[in-house]
Symmetry: D2
Subunit: 341 residues, 4 copies
């Protein structure tokens, strides 16, 4: 039975604890947080869980095999480095680190140490994203022309990272995964409406090989939560709406593209659709459960679907987006280090 320590019991940590506890092959031994209150709360929920305000109790515990890091992004690098150096496997929340060079060093360190480094890009473990990937790989959509995605909601304003680093990791991770590719350049426009210098809205266009465009809209200012991704292909298109509980994916058949002459407003109103729509049934499993199980499987030899390299490729795109925003939308090429070749 693998023993796990969790650092950070704030926003996301409790979900990770709950899921790892429910897995058969793992035991969550210790959780740490700087807040005594959060620790008390965790203890009420899980009386058998050890809690501590000092994360070093986890790092230094020889019984603990793997460390889960669910702390603010600026702390990821140091915590992960310490854990790997202490011989632990690491599951780190996304984004992997707050700086590209830290990401490169961390991936390299894990590689050399032979330890599993996995990043919490949860979406690649959802039934919906895997269905989208399958539809692309199987050719059902034809050639992918472009992808357009909105990830907007009201706040949870952060003071250390902008909206791109908060929300776009999901989209870049999803798109790299479903396209089995990575962007070559980016043009992006953003603006800081609420806090100086921290963009809360951004409009981003990534260019993938094969002339595939991926347009991202991310915002902390939109009271109406949207998580919608449209994939337009030469044969069909799909809309993946992650907010919908019942109809996450809609596939639109492409129909005749001729709009006839019409003589009344009424006939015009009727001419909006072009083909059948289908809404496939998806599995109901909680993706976080699958992700947590996958981490255990990777410790036992599997290759992580969202390993350090995947996380690092996401970082490189985020960094390029920042630079294009600084240049008012001018195109920025993304250079991948040799280790990602």
């Amino acid at each position: 039975m693998l023993k796990i320590g969790v650092i950070g019991c704030g926003y996301w940590g409790p979900n990770l604890i709950r899921n790892f506890i429910n897995l058969k092959d793992a035991q969550v031994k210790t959780a740490s947080d700087l807040s005594e209150n959060r620790l008390k709360h965790m203890n009420r929920l899980y009386p058998s869980l050890a809690v501590t305000v000092d994360y070093k109790d986890i790092i230094n515990d020889p019984e603990i095999d793997a460390v889960v890091i669910a702390t603010p992004v600026s702390t990821h690098y140091e915590l992960a480095v310490e854990a790997i150096k202490a011989g632990k496997h690491v599951f780190c929340e996304k984004p992997l680190t707050s700086k590209v060079d830290e990401g490169i060093k961390l991936v390299s360190l894990a590689d050399k140490a032979g330890k599993t480094l996995m990043v919490g890009h949860t979406f690649v473990y959802t039934a919906a994203v895997n269905k989208v990937r399958d539809l692309i790989k199987s050719g059902e959509l034809g050639d992918v022309y472009y992808i357009s995605t909105s990830r907007v909601n009201l706040g949870l304003f952060q003071d250390d990272i902008n909206v791109v680093w908060d929300l776009a990791p999901h989209d870049v991770s999803i798109m790299n995964y479903i396209l089995e590719s990575r962007p070559v350049s980016v043009s992006a426009v953003g603006y800081s409406y609420i806090q100086p210098k921290i963009q809360d809205v951004a409009f981003v266009t990534l260019r993938y090989p094969g002339s595939i465009l991926a347009n991202l809209q991310v915002s902390w200012l939109n009271p109406n939560k949207i998580r919608a991704t449209t994939v337009v292909g030469s044969r069909k298109m799909l809309v993946y709406d992650d907010i919908s509980s019942l109809e996450k994916i809609r596939i639109y058949d492409k129909g005749v593209d001729v709009i006839p002459h019409y003589d009344t407003f009424g006939e015009f109103q009727l001419s909006y659709r072009y083909g059948d729509i289908s809404i496939p049934k998806l599995d109901d499993a909680e993706p976080l459960k699958i992700e947590c199980q996958h981490f255990l499987d990777c410790i036992n030899g599997k290759t992580p679907r969202s390993g350090g390299k995947h996380g690092l490729e996401v970082l490189l795109a985020l960094d390029a987006i920042d630079r294009s925003m600084a240049a008012n939308g001018a195109e920025i090429k993304i250079e991948y280090p040799e280790s990602l070749a």
Copy 2:
């Protein structure tokens, strides 16, 4: 009773004919089209309508007071010039002309001739767009931060203009109208998937005074027709969905922006919304009827809501979008001629 001649009975012309015929103060005397078939069809519908393959029969008819131009955009300039020189008022479908300098000359010509020049930017005559404008002007939304709009559908690919010139005139016209402003610069990325050199998809960000961003997505490749505009303000936001027949405008109250800690996936699922939503009742009138009546009113002295200057401002934005796409998204400033100062 004003007498009207209509040039062009293809896609949109019949709607203009039907609406002008139904107005009390106007009579449609003559319609022209290059296709005998279209003319026969118009004659079946309106037996009292004179038809001709030669548009000069309209231009040269001294009984005709006003000319409606519903032909391909490349012909707008010459037809409008001829009509104004013949002493007619002109209603011209959008976009006003296919080139900026033609637009400037045409507006100037109409000015000097003292003739009404109106452009068929129909959306500024809809109840929905006027409701959006009112909500902004009244301060109900607070300060406008940004606008995001999608105008996408399957084809009607054109071989003389790209998707920006086909669809974005609506959006630029709407945004200039609701913001009572005009953009200062633009960054845009587009691509030509189907026909060489004619973009069929574009992602555009316009910058308006006061740090307002307007993001446009236009596409001919999307089988799911969308016409959605989101306006995010400091107090509220709204979504204007022109496809919805019953609920075109939804206004979202901004609520508390703190997302609490949660310990189960279920509680997380429940935390999506932030305030009340309201869906105002809108008038049902056909906008084209209002627009056509407005043209008559303008001939009788009113100032057109979508006059030549409005149409020209739209042209200038379209032209700048083209240039930014050619520069891979680099920012292009929009220079307005003195006549629009």
Copy 3:
């Protein structure tokens, strides 16, 4: 070219006039209405149309081949009898007559006279209703278990007929048509909230052969317009939403009917759906155009899809619903006359 006279230019008559005028093989010669105002309006729209306040000008015109009756239901019987006796074919708006015995006599009269008698049950000419019928006939739904339908909206309260006679003719017509059957008995509860003795809400259950139940809800008191029909079969079910312009029919695949044990509220939330959904593309044609053309075809020998007998079967069901409402929901058998055997 068939010549047509239309009696009644109120609510629905103008739609019939417009459609018959647009057909190639017919000419609308004369329209009558008791209101001079309505006649003036019709004349503005169709200058070549003769108008009269005296419907006898239509009945007595030997040039007129067919009479279209779009007057209040209480006048249908006498007008139709006069028209048939004058040798005309008759298209009569629904319901056929306001009394069962009048319906029986009228159908018999038309039969003997060898004239086409067609009732304006427009829904059987829609692409959606025919798609539903096809899905049932082809066996795609399996055995039909039950049908449930809501036809509710805000008033247009009538003072001569109740909500059952106003709205349920559509549903009974649709259900008899899609099931190719007719009900054997009915249980119904209704209530008169606004006008004494005229029910404005009714809940109706019709029993069809083969243990098929059809539940109808009709109301004049519901500000939210609904026209939804659910057909539940042993293999699949469908929902036909006539308000939706884009997605009128949704077909639900039946899936596994076992709900698993679950331990968190979140997993529970995820377990709502059971199979794929498909939304077939339907034709956009205006059903009234098809219906009007069908009337012409029937005059030329075809058997009407919604002929007098169909209309009479609907009447018999409406009459039985009235009697069950009077008996507080007690079951009332429907007796069909021999002429409908």
Copy 4:
């Protein structure tokens, strides 16, 4: 700290255990189930929970203050009687018992023993149902005319109770609660499509004082899960859709009820809506948590919102529905025993 024993760890029991465990003032000491497997599962989730296959271990445990019964309905009566006789407070899942006379005896027993008897009618603890009740009580809807509700989904076919006893307890409980009233008679039609003599579909009309009708549709045969309640009042109406996570309640303002003449199909399409719609923000709290806390509060002196009498009134309605179905829809009066006067 109150000590609780839970009998039954099948479908719903685990949710009750999870919620009681998370409350500050209670401790779940023991859980029983006939299945060793279920007990093992519960033990994995809650290592400190005692488990047993013999429910008498709970009944006979003097430390346990209250018993939660989440077993099949046919066992409720005997288990509840034993628990009360052993001096425990009882929380029993709905419906209270499977027979009316058992319900009467049980309520009387709890009364005499001075013990809290609460029934798990969870919906009266939801934010949505309480919002509906408030809107009715405050007069915002005007006089309630009628209520129409659909509670349909695919199976979980039961072999001891029919669909009315499975699903309608929710609706009757909700309607009695929001109307602060109880039905006087019922007309109902049902049918058994799958299992002989166990209705899987029913259409029910309850009559409440003041001429309020409540129409219920319950079904195990509908693959599309629906939980929708419409309340039509003289001033406004509302739709409460329990499936929607974001927009559970929509309030429709009543508008002008005149539909104008129209001459084209298009104008007709536009005339569907009649007033503003508003969608109030609701609390996100898990209702089961509130219900469980309420049970503790009732043990400490509060009057249960869904106590034995509420549960018994529901039983009496269910019993009357059964009898009306047996009589093909004939009206059945509901007699309330003196203890409920």
